[in-house]
């Protein structure tokens, strides 16, 4: 263990000692709490005698402690709760430290830890969130606990579904398909003209940088309150990144690739389909991924400017005004799931189509 880890262990043990000391008098009311404090304190011995120093032990301590603390947080947390919380947090961190620094791990376990560590980290954040909001009695209008949010989520499935359909399926998806599709077609059309490319590329880059969401009120004026105006915003937002990336992708091929096709006296269309489009695929997918996030953001923000009584953005702004923050968080959870799922789907397709690109290759080599 290096100095940092040693320090962590010392502080964790001190905290556990504090917890033990505070909970001794309540040992009958909260036996589980008492026992975990005891075990954590035994950790003091590990400092001096190097027993059971593997990260796994810290990890177990942390997990068990988390479960016990979760149970006890609902009664008003007794003394010893908070030092124990800190102690268990440090043990969890220590566990991650040790595991990630461990040199001799079988490849299987390495892969496992690769997934398990961020999940454990995420779980810890949720746990801490829950415990701190409940333990410190944080009012719901400021930050609701994850349990309250999940309850609200389950209770409002119909509303959430309707909002999802309105914002994602109707506005974001339509806008995304139209925006990316038209940009793709136009990129191919202007591909033949160097002059047009030289003009449009800088302008496209410029427009990609400006706050296009601001065009939402104008789109509402043109297309009405409903999802069409939001889709229009998404079309504009996704058009330029796709255009710029496709045009760039079509221009990055090697002189050798172009000369080879010249020696075959191939036609423009042949060269486009057989060489330039496959070579442009990484760029195109890059734009598709960026645009999936932009589409959702655009659709949601556009609803802030005015919307019929349905939609993720609409619901968020309304419920924020009513201080129903658990509903707001439930909507955010939906948005997060939709956002990462769509990104994930596109990434998956990308890996299949551009399997040959060096960045995707490490597992396929020989």
């Amino acid at each position: 263990m290096n100095k940092f880890q040693k320090a962590q262990q010392v502080i964790a043990s001190i905290m556990a000692l504090l917890a033990l000391q505070s909970s001794i008098f309540y040992a009958f009311n909260y036996p589980a709490l008492f026992f975990i404090s005891l075990i954590a304190t035994i950790g003091v011995i590990r400092i001096f005698y190097d027993y059971l120093n593997s990260g796994l032990f810290d990890f177990l301590l942390s997990i068990i402690g988390m479960t016990i603390l979760m149970i006890h947080v609902y009664d008003s947390p007794p003394n010893g709760f908070w030092p124990l919380l800190i102690s268990i947090w440090l043990y969890g961190w220590l566990a991650v430290e040790k595991i990630t620094h461990e040199k001799n791990i079988a490849p299987f376990f390495r892969k496992l830890f690769f997934i398990a560590v961020p999940i454990f980290f995420g779980a810890w954040i949720l746990f801490a969130w829950e415990v701190i909001t409940i333990g410190l009695n944080i009012p719901m209008v400021i930050l609701p606990s994850p349990s309250l949010i999940s309850i609200q989520f389950v209770n409002s499935l119909e509303t959430l579904w309707a909002d999802f359909v309105q914002t994602f399926v109707r506005a974001a998806l339509t806008g995304y398909l139209i925006g990316c599709g038209s940009a793709f077609i136009i990129a191919i059309l202007i591909d033949k003209s160097l002059f047009l490319r030289r003009g449009l590329l800088p302008i496209g880059n410029f427009i990609s940088a400006i706050p296009i969401v601001g065009i939402a009120p104008i789109m509402i004026m043109w297309f009405g309150f409903d999802w069409q105006s939001k889709a229009a915003v998404v079309v504009i937002m996704t058009f330029f990144p796709m255009l710029v990336n496709t045009v760039t992708g079509l221009s990055v091929n090697n002189p050798i690739d172009r000369d080879l096709l010249k020696t075959y006296a191939s036609s423009y269309t042949q060269s486009l389909i057989l060489m330039r489009l496959p070579a442009a695929a990484p760029f195109i997918f890059n734009a598709l991924k960026i645009n999936s996030t932009l589409a959702l953001i655009g659709a949601i923000i556009a609803e802030f400017f005015g919307s019929p009584t349905v939609g993720l953005g609409f619901r968020i702004s309304v419920e924020v005004g009513r201080l129903n923050l658990d509903m707001v968080w439930a909507e955010i959870v939906v948005a997060a799931i939709v956002g990462s799922a769509s990104y994930g789907v596109i990434s998956f397709i990308e890996k299949k189509v551009t399997f040959w690109h060096p960045s995707n290759r490490s597992t396929l080599e020989k």
């Binding site: 560590v117 961020p118 940088a209 601001g214 065009i215 104008i218 043109w222 802030f304 955010i332």
Partner: protein, 297 residues
């Protein structure tokens, strides 16, 4: 020889861009007449005026609340609200731009600093890397901007209003691209360079200062450009929930409430100018810095 490159620049960059811009303006004017014409014709009929095509063209370009304002209308509105009004007045576009710009810059600066700190800790500490990196990458797929209204309301409840909540939104938004870009940059040195440092028995601190940090500068500038654009969007969106008092987002909102299209467009154009200027400045700084560091174009 320098005249030759100037002519090349003119032919290859300036002329094409100028032509496209001219085409865009021409199309814009045509659409102005086209889109505003139905309202104009209704107005003629209500007022029982005889009209011909040139009347139509002239009047559609000077409506008070047009469906699509003509470019010169936008320019004159902007001129009015920038130069013809006291800067401190609530109607001044400069005043509103200043509000939005200040929260953008504050948020961007804090976000950049935090992003760099996070990136350094991810690269230097494996536990941080394993726990945090997947989440940071995942967060780029989540529409974080949707949280903006909530953050504003919560912070208002704590008594923090005005600049700081909006700046915090901008911080939050710029923080992730900077962290991701910086991690890429800090990890970018080739293996052979790292091996060389090892043959000198270099300490981690030395490797960091002398190799990783300089290698990360191009990546940092690239993500800063993305981050500042996002910060601007964040600042504008942050002005929406509070019923919008000041700032470009506020101008957008009030314009949309009262149907003041020209006001909306002028706020948008101003935002675009701001974005363009900020990125131009960043580009300029980036070029000088990288040139001094020996990076070739």
């Amino acid at each position: 020889m320098s005249e030759n490159t100037f002519i090349n620049y003119f032919k290859n960059s300036f002329l094409p861009i100028l032509s496209i811009i001219i085409i865009i303006f021409a199309v814009w004017y045509i659409f102005t007449v086209y889109l505003n014409s139905s309202i104009q014709i209704d107005s003629y009929e209500r007022q029982k005026i005889d009209w011909d095509f040139s009347d139509l063209v002239r009047d559609t370009m000077s409506q008070k609340k047009p469906l699509l304002p003509a470019p010169h209308q936008i320019v004159s509105e902007m001129w009015k609200t920038i130069f013809m009004i006291k800067i401190t007045s609530k109607k001044s576009l400069i005043f509103h731009s200043y509000i939005t710009l200040s929260s953008t810059l504050l948020g961007f600066t804090i976000g950049t600093i935090l992003g760099i700190i996070l990136a350094v800790s991810i690269v230097e500490n494996k536990a941080m890397d394993a726990s945090l990196m997947p989440w940071i990458i995942a967060s780029q797929t989540i529409p974080i901007l949707a949280i903006a209204p909530m953050i504003i309301i919560i912070l208002n409840a704590f008594g923090l209003s005005g600049l700081l909540p909006k700046a915090l939104i901008s911080t939050y938004l710029s923080f992730f691209p900077i962290a991701v870009g910086m991690v890429k940059g800090l990890r970018s040195p080739e293996l052979s360079y790292l091996d060389l440092m090892h043959t000198y028995n270099s300490s981690r601190l030395n490797i960091f200062w002398k190799l990783r940090l300089p290698s990360s500068v191009p990546y940092l500038f690239a993500s800063m450009k993305v981050a500042i654009a996002i910060s601007l969007v964040g600042a504008i969106v942050g002005e929406l929930p509070t019923g919008a008092v000041a700032g470009l987002g506020a101008r957008l909102l009030t314009g949309s409430y009262f149907g003041l299209t020209i006001q909306i467009w002028s706020a948008l154009v101003m935002a675009a100018i701001l974005a363009g200027t900020l990125i131009f400045i960043l580009n300029f700084i980036s070029r000088i810095t990288l040139k001094r560091m020996g990076v070739q174009e």
